[in-house]
């Protein structure tokens, strides 16, 4: 069968791409081949718009055992102890069907981790929605959180943290980014189809028509009303099958029964088959008839690109096949040998004795065009940056503080994380509600601290500086928990790459991340790019979500955000700039302004703070530590008090002498933290701060049931009511689909 002339366009391939495919094959492609190329060369699978730029990210480091390009990055966190860490986006599917879109996003990232031979032990979710006064936003948020909860809890992986923020620009394009942490149990696996004559084992759920062309259709084109027509590709998550798939996969690895492993996600079988062969320099011969199907009369192309969930592909030596099949049978996981590794370099697909596809594996996996798309700095950005940043004083300080505490982006996210099992595996030393989640690795002393951060407003005002701030904040979060920042994963969420202004934002984001990661010593171990996040031509704020991973040699030195005891001294670390209001929560909530330039970041000062916090934590000097971010010093202090249900009395009037009083309270200058400690440690801490050249001021003491700010005081119970009720109250209002 030869492809119809225009079929390639329907499949999303350009005329140039068709020409390139003809050149690779030396003939016209078959329909099945064309379908396989269309998914493998889609933006989502091939990274054709981003690849050129991603290579600029720093990815080397002593602790990095496996960098970008595999299922997940692998980081050595203690001698002989390695973890896998990776983030993924599932934005478009979650907009189409929030519950199942988010659920299958969790399933996908978990399989990425498993494909490395690692047991998934923690999830994080980074969520962005429109403003909550829109009933549809409430519906989306409820569905997404329920989807993550339902899948993550059932599959038995704790969701230990994340972030949830609200901006109008995400109203018709929510962001659902999920990160997963795993620990390598027996040995590191990789997706390689080595060994001619080895068998190709497909195991997991059966293959149906669901999700055909999901990657190319949903994630690689703009969104408009016709997207509602794309709904048949919606997939239903099956966490039960995923749980069995995890156990079967890890047992196959532990018993040394497989030589290569890769998950099936976007691109269906075509993806691991071509990538594993291409990476090993081998070929793969598949008999599509042997794939276990859920629906009848599926076409070969449907079988090759179906994105049915909860499936994996393994390479097995012939002598191990029976045992491997027995392992799958034990776990109740359907498994079939569907082909074998060949010495050619081609992916061949056979149906009923006819060859329906025969293409160089490398052509599918690696030969997608690499585009250098036009980039253009938007004209509006100069005006935007030159506009007033919303840093004018408030009518009254107390009122402004209450407004900020009730702001959906700042208020307590308990409504979200109480729906997630965040305790399973007995490793959650630092539960949700703090700066970073601290996870003790099973049966070990070593722990990791993880945090996701993506300040969209900062990035809108200046994508490069915003991206630097994103990396800095995520690193500061793990440092505040007592960890040494080590490496990042990321999810870069942007608009349409065919728009030169979006492409410029993308380039700037990459520049910012590189810069910050180099300065902070945290290489990039992998990540994900999600383009086409826009509705009716309006792009979202460029939103790079950084997933930082830090290491604590011992979980015992972890530090929480909550004050610990009455009578402890409260210290503010870092210096405060009166003008850091651009893109701040204060400017948005009090003056309804998102303009100016984001806070200035000195990466050396930032790094010094991290070194200081890490060594203070290791020496056990701090009772509590909380970094300053959205809402500035005042909000951070309130959070420290609420976390422990313990009040304080402070005077922050001196920390920002150059500015008006509210600057000390709400300015979002980075590189700062609030620490509490016993009186006897103040001197040592001050000495340490001096060594690291981090400014330190004593601002008050803990105790009582009031939050005494000097100019006024609020009762602890009052602020607790404000921040704890904000989300439940809003979300109990109606939800429209």
């Amino acid at each position: 069968m030869t492809a119809d002339l225009l079929v390639h366009r329907e499949l999303g391939l350009t005329d140039d791409e068709l020409d390139q495919i003809r050149a690779e094959l030396g003939r016209e492609p078959t329909y099945t081949e064309l379908a396989m190329f269309s998914v493998m060369w889609s933006e989502h699978c091939s990274y054709k718009s981003s690849r050129l730029h991603l290579t600029k990210l720093p990815s080397k480091g002593d602790a990095i055992l496996v960098g970008p390009g595999e299922g997940a990055g692998i980081i050595e966190v203690a001698p002989g102890v390695a973890v896998a860490w990776k983030a993924e986006s599932h934005n478009h599917p979650s907009f189409v069907e929030p519950f199942n879109g988010a659920a299958t996003g969790v399933g996908g990232i978990i399989r990425d981790i498993v494909s490395m031979g690692a047991r998934p032990i923690a999830l994080m979710d980074s969520l962005r929605f429109g403003e909550l006064d829109d009933p549809r936003t409430r519906y989306l948020m409820d569905g997404v959180v329920h989807g993550i909860s339902s899948y993550g809890n059932s599959v038995g992986v704790p969701t230990v943290g994340g972030e949830t923020a609200f901006e109008d620009c995400y109203a018709d394009n929510p962001l659902v980014n999920v990160a997963c942490l795993g620990v390598v149990e027996h040995k590191l696996m990789q997706g390689r189809a080595t060994g001619t004559g080895n068998k190709v084992l497909l195991f997991g759920s059966s293959t149906g028509r669901d999700g055909i062309g999901g990657a190319s259709v949903l994630a690689s084109a703009g969104f408009d009303d016709s997207s509602m027509e794309k709904r048949p590709s919606v997939q239903v998550g099956d966490p039960f099958s995923e749980k069995l798939l995890i156990e079967a996969s890890l047992e196959l690895v532990a018993r040394d029964l497989i030589v290569g492993l890769q998950d099936l996600g976007a691109g269906g079988i075509s993806c691991p088959a071509s990538e594993m062969a291409a990476k090993a320099g081998t070929g793969i011969y598949l008999t599509a008839d042997d794939v276990h199907l859920r629906e009848q009369e599926m076409q070969p192309f449907e079988i090759m690109i179906s994105e049915s969930q909860e499936r994996m592909l393994a390479i097995v030596e012939p002598r191990c096949v029976d045992e491997a099949l027995a392992v799958c049978a034990h776990w109740g996981v359907p498994a079939r040998v569907i082909g074998e590794v060949t010495s050619s370099d081609r992916l061949e697909v056979d149906v009923g004795g006819d060859t329906v596809a025969d293409v160089p594996a490398r052509a599918l996996a690696d030969a997608a065009p690499v585009l250098d798309r036009a980039r253009q700095r938007p004209e509006w950005i100069d005006d935007l940056q030159a506009s007033p940043n919303g840093g004018d004083p408030p009518e009254d300080l107390a009122g402004a503080l209450s407004t900020l505490l009730a702001s959906p982006s700042i208020c307590s996210k308990r409504w979200v994380w109480e729906q997630y099992d965040h305790m399973i595996f007995l490793g959650t030393i630092g539960p949700p509600g703090g700066d970073a989640a601290v996870i003790r690795l099973p049966d070990r002393e070593v722990a990791v601290a993880i945090s996701t951060d993506g300040p969209g407003r900062y990035c809108y005002l200046d994508p490069c500086d915003g991206a630097r701030l994103a990396v800095a904040e995520s690193a500061r979060n793990v440092a505040a928990a007592g960890a040494r920042p080590v490496a990042i994963t990321n999810c870069l969420n942007l608009g349409n790459p065919e728009d030169p202004e979006v492409m410029w934002q993308f380039g700037e984001v990459i520049r910012g991340i590189s810069d910050a990661c180099n300065a902070l010593g945290t290489p990039v171990t992998g990540g994900n790019v999600s383009f086409y996040n826009e509705t009716k031509g309006r792009p979202i704020y460029p939103t790079p979500v950084i997933g930082m991973l830090g290491v604590l040699d011992s979980y015992r030195t972890a530090v929480g955000v909550g004050f610990v005891e009455e009578g402890h001294q409260i210290l503010l670390l870092g210096s405060t700039d009166p003008g850091d209001f651009g893109g701040s929560e204060y400017a948005k909530m009090i003056h309804r302004i998102v303009a100016g330039t984001p806070p200035k970041l000195d990466l050396q000062a930032e790094r010094s703070l991290h070194l200081l916090l890490h060594s203070a934590a290791t020496q056990g000097l701090m009772a509590s530590c909380h970094d300053l971010s959205h809402g500035g010093a005042a909000v951070a202090l309130v959070e420290c008090a609420m976390a422990a249900h313990l009040g304080f009395s402070v005077d922050i009037s001196d920390v920002c002498p150059q500015g008006e009083p509210h600057s000390a309270w709400f300015s979002e200058t980075p590189s700062r933290a609030v620490v509490s400690c016993a009186e006897e440690h103040v001197e040592t801490l001050a000495g340490l701060a001096a060594t690291h050249r981090v400014p330190l001021s004593l601002i008050g003491v803990t105790g009582g049931s009031d939050l005494d700010f000097g100019p006024f005081a609020i009762e602890l119970t009052t602020v607790e009511e404000i921040t704890e009720r904000a989300l439940p109250n809003t979300l109990s209002a109606s939800m429209d689909r």
Binding site: V96, S205, G208, R231, V236, D736
Partner: protein
């Protein structure tokens, strides 16, 4: 007038139903063979006021579109008594 309405909400054909499949797989273990195509959905029963049966049906159908069913993955069927 008061009417009773029953709504059956099922996953659309082609949408995977892991719940139904799991039940199907467990039935032979309990000694029930020859059972196929198990699908699990929702049933909603309610009482409503309407001028006549036609109006009752229209209102329930509208409620299904807006709230009771998820048109992305589910189809529904309304009975009025």
């Amino acid at each position: 007038m008061a009417f009773s309405a029953q709504v059956n909400v099922m996953l659309k054909p082609g949408i995977a139903d892991p719940q139904g499949q799991t039940i199907e797989r467990s039935l032979p273990v309990l000694g029930y063979t020859g059972v196929r195509d198990v699908r699990v959905g929702k049933r909603i029963e309610l009482q409503l006021e309407a001028a006549d049966e036609g109006e009752a049906r229209d209102r329930v159908t509208e409620m299904c579109d807006k709230l009771l069913a998820n048109p992305v993955i589910e189809s529904y069927e309304v009975t009025i008594q």
